[in-house]
Symmetry: C3
Subunit: 398 residues, 3 copies
């Protein structure tokens, strides 16, 4: 039975995979076509099904997956390491120290020096507006050149593990969770999702989560509402992407300044704190100037600004206003839970507790999404490779 | 010849392995039955014999072994990494930072978030009385629930790499060393082992070594003597376990306050420093209150208290008082060697030097004990799996 | 076609490999015979050809490669990790903390404690004259004894990843690059290579690069010229080795105090900064005494001394004086590039840029050189093993 399901997934993948992902990096979801996004979901589902059937997914007998974290992370490190290990790649961490601002020559050289036997490079660089995604592209360009110049035997492909603009592994995992929860992509058409700001006692949380969500989830015909207090705008370019997506997919995208309005009748809610884009830009400038006093002052401002909106909490009352009072609550974790992780936070403890299991399941898709991104970027016919794994039937656990 | 020996070990293992270790954590040796302890020794011996015959012991084609060290460690890290690597698991380290006090929600969430593709979790948390073993149980409970809730595809099992109460991998390795040294478990009956305190210029060494030793070695009909100056009591609960074990196994357990008395006529001596239980409890409280001045003051007290007992050194004189003057000297390493690593220490240099090779051999059992614990917790019929490895005969080194 | 080439390399390797490298450490190139050096180049080429043909080079199904870095490194870490991964070994890092001065007992014990399941140990210890290579030999001796004493089941072999005397993986990679660039070892006979000092705004760069180069490249009948300002002498013992090598190989070795003179008519130039040997010795003494003020004062002296020779830059003018103005420019990277990484440095930006691709290719040999060193030290008949890999034809990437 399970074998049939896997075969069906692989057959679907074969139709969607196209040729546009091979040796290409996964940097922003809106750089991928609808088929490529669909292929990634199918590959993730197929890999998961194979693993659940104890079929080994090792497509590499050796090879490195470089990890480069310019910001601390436990979960993303584990998701990336899990994905690499599943496919047979060994993670080698590049510990750069504190150098945040890329120097042209150094980036190109370092990228090539570590990539001689690397098949994939996972980078997280989300702290400074205008820097992270840019840096990833520099690295990608460096190894593209290195491969073309005969310096590298293979073209390592990049996976964006979170940048200043997008958080593809997160939004894609969230989306796959929704697809499974509601029983299919078609079941999402017309559903309302509220991507809202929420109060947090810590400042400076990245914008890439709300941006990633509106940048991806507007592609499925949903009614996507972005809500936040005034002053908490996200990048206008990403809002533009969201608007165009919504139009193309027959859904909608709007921005409101009321958490209530966003939650009203919603099928899905995603209340999550973030720092204002303009403030994050300012912080990048201050950092670039080495103005640490300025950064401290800015942080105080941001905390004070946040404190004006402590009412932006995902409460039982707000949840009651969703469709049937039963909207699916999403969070990328960890959440600031009122009374548990902090006095006042993003969500009431009783709400969080009620959704604990679905929240953990939401997170469980991430390693598979990353593995799917790697698979699709490293093989010309990924479906054939998965078919091969199924037929070989090597056991993951003997 | 060697193949016959391996087959015999596997056959013995099949009789002892039972069904009680599958998907169970190894947290305290006294939570395991006599057969389960015996099965662990047999599995360790079988794995060692297989490796010595260059037979690959990889039972996992992929999978992670999470390592979580809340205290520095080189040897234990290497033992755990060696064991995981032997079986085919890749170690992924969870670097928590400095958070010692577990927050309910955070522990459950973190444990699940890192475990999506983890088969085993090795934890070392031995610095704070009442915290370490408790934390391990929280993690175990978290992943047990996660597995039951369908969040985790597999139930990662825990291996205790040292807690505040027990140090199972150490005591089990020590025991296996004794079994091999004396030529069999039956040869240990009636033998006297002196687990004694010894002077060390550093304070705060964990109690889990003496506690682990008396908690395990009283199960084999030996005359176990725990010796220490007054004021250096270990946990009364563990002494109670030791007493009951001794009764059941036809051996004995007593506590004395004289190193001489303990060493007199002993077959085995294990002189090792530790901090008083009561002092370690106080240190935990001070730490919980963030009273770092209090901790510094307590440390000074402990050093002063230690300094009253510099005569508790494993000297040639004391060794001469053992049975035939030839008792086997044990240490978990590293030892404080008088005149070598410190002015005055736990053992005289000439004694330590004489036993160097057996000491290294004692240590060599640890990676195999850990691998055995993993094996027995992850497979319902471990003997069958080892048989399969032997028959497949894949080479570890081509 | 490619298969034929690989078979030819393997056949050549079979003739050169001898029996002298099995279970021997690679600490200094001048401790290896001409055939052993040739075998290492052939093995590196064969491994590279196999990997390029997508043939898996995994000769280990499990096993650890210990890495011990007593000095920071990104490139060498990656080269070593790449080499280990290629062969099937998993890297386990030994993080020692800050202890630089080896204590006899501790070295022997630690080396054995971490080596129970280790097949190779890679060490980088280059900061203190008289310490690094010495430490490596202590570790080698410790595991040699451990293996002989039955403590270790296998004899882990050492690879010198840079010490105070030599940098074998670098000089061997550089040499293999020259062999490929000029079309064969015989094509190097009579060619002039200028190993010159160059100005750098940072002090204290290791001498092991120039020493490694003159210690190896004098074996091939080349005209080797070592050039530096007075006061920047390298170790006299290594100059003696270079002189003897040159005599034996029919080449020459001389030392001059003029960068121009060295560059004139050269086929190959290698301008690279280093600290004076005598100053590095003094720094070791100061460090041994814990005289950090003394170290700071010495550093200031060195920077001032360097600053007198800012004209020692690899300029376009100097390059124009080489043979045909087209000498091959070498650097171990990263280079101090004038106007790019610093105001004034080792090399003009236009020169560096022109040679960027060959420089990256020079670096690309290092992982293969390390893998070759490991291969030759762990197998009695390495050629047979490579032949086996070729015939099995397991794919590295499925």
């Amino acid at each position: 039975m399970e074998r049939t399901r896997i075969e069906a997934l692989i057959a679907e993948l074969a139709k969607k995979q196209g040729s546009g992902m091979y040796l290409k990096d996964f940097l922003l979801t809106w750089e991928k076509t609808d088929d490529e996004i669909a292929a990634t979901f199918l590959a993730a589902d197929a890999l998961r099904a194979l693993r659940e059937e104890n079929v080994s997914c090792r497509l590499f007998d050796s090879g490195l997956g470089i990890s480069l974290f310019r910001d601390n992370s436990t979960r993303t490190r584990f998701s990336y390491a899990s994905a690499c290990n599943l496919l047979g790649l060994e993670v080698q961490d590049l510990d750069e120290g504190k150098s945040q601002i890329a120097h042209g020559e150094t980036v190109r050289e370092t990228a090539n020096m570590v990539s001689f036997m690397a098949d994939v490079i996972g980078i997280r660089d989300d702290m400074y507006i205008g820097k992270g995604n840019t840096y990833m592209r520099e690295v990608a360009e460096a190894v593209e050149m290195g491969h073309a110049e005969g310096v590298l035997e293979q073209r390592p492909t990049l996976v964006n593990l979170q940048c200043d603009i997008d958080h593809p592994t997160q939004s894609m995992a969230d989306m796959l969770h929704l697809i499974h929860h509601f029983g299919g992509v078609e079941k999402l058409k017309g559903r309302k999702i509220a991507m809202t700001w929420a109060y947090s006692p810590s400042y400076g949380k990245p914008l890439s989560v709300p941006q990633g969500v509106i940048g991806l989830m507007t592609r499925f015909g949903m009614e996507v509402v972005l809500a936040h207090p005034e002053g908490y705008e996200v990048m206008p370019e990403v809002e533009a992407v969201a608007g165009k997506n919504a139009e193309r997919s027959g859904g909608s995208f709007e921005r409101v300044n009321s958490m209530e309005e966003a939650f009203a009748g919603a099928d899905i809610v995603y209340p999550k704190s973030w720092a204002p884009f303009a403030a994050m830009e300012k912080r990048t400038e201050l950092y670039g100037r080495g103005d640490f006093d300025g950064i401290k002052a800015l942080e105080k401002e941001l905390l004070a600004q946040n404190a004006k909106h402590t009412d932006w909490e995902c409460s039982e009352e707000l949840m009651a206003g969703t469709r049937g009072g039963e909207a699916l609550y999403l969070h990328c974790l960890p959440a600031d839970i009122s009374g548990v992780s902090c006095r006042q936070g993003e969500v009431a403890a009783s709400v969080f507790d009620r959704y604990r299991i679905p929240l953990y399941k939401q997170a469980s898709y991430k390693p598979y999404i990353i593995a799917a991104m790697i698979l699709l970027s490293k093989f010309q016919d990924p479906a054939a490779k998965l078919k091969g794994l199924l037929e070989a039937g090597e056991k993951r656990v003997k």
